[in-house]
Amino acid sequence: MHVEASPRPTIRDRGRAPVTRRALVVNLAVADLQRAIDFFEALGLNFDPGFTDASCACLLVGRDAHVMLMSRELLGGFVRAPIADPAAAPTALYAIEVASRDEVDALLERALAAGATHAAGLMDGPSMYARCFRDPDGYTWEVYWMAAAMRER
């Protein structure tokens, strides 16, 4: 692990919950929308048909947490640049928290069965357990469980 000499940053607006709740929508480019939908449905996740059309589909993760799967053309229009390969030069990683260690294994196995590949990043400790996969578009996802005690420390 990298060791940094830099100090812990200071925070002015601190808390355990957001002062203002906002919904986060992560827009991700995918090569084949139907393939991506089938993949995430195989993981047990669901989609909002009200925000799904021929070029995008809204994956429901949490109460204020959504992933909009988009055609490369649609996202390219928003960011005004050709879409890059997330596996070659990653600028983001995605993590999903589940309720138990068993659920981590179950979700990973479903992902692999649905066409994902293993990615490095196994973490196996008494209070945290994580495994990673790369989805069919090359995005790396971490599925993890964290003991409640670790959150409340």
């Binding site: 048909p49 960011v79 600028t91």
Partner: protein
Amino acid sequence: MATTDHPTTDAPAAVPELRNAGTAPATRRKLFLNLPVADLQRTIRFFEALGFTFDPHFTDAKATCMLVGDDAYCMLLTRPFFETFSGRPVGDPVAQPYLSLALALDARADVDAMVERAIAHGGEAAGEAMDHGFMYQRGFRDLDGYHWDPFWMDPAAIPG
């Protein structure tokens, strides 16, 4: 966030088939978006200026946790720390984009306010405002070049 009325090009593609449809998640899970940043302290100041809160329990010299909504978090990581997870050098979000981040806000005026605060604190305007009447969106790039689109949507226009 995409609307369903964007212009279509060429032959219309088929609307994809959904097997697990709904308007709320079948199982609520927390989503953590991990983003590498060049200067953790500078980025914290930037997003604090936009009204975001940070969790001190998940903050150290290498990472901090920005609280966005229920189940929605951004972990901002130093680049070297991010690379220990990605196993690859960090890409350039401007030259090699494959994602953008949208934020649903409660009011149309909040969209302009957030973009103006972002610009005042070192961000850049990105693209032009998109005004559909029932939906309003304006983009900015943060200090690391990530593309954010705060938007407001009239609750009456939300399908379902």
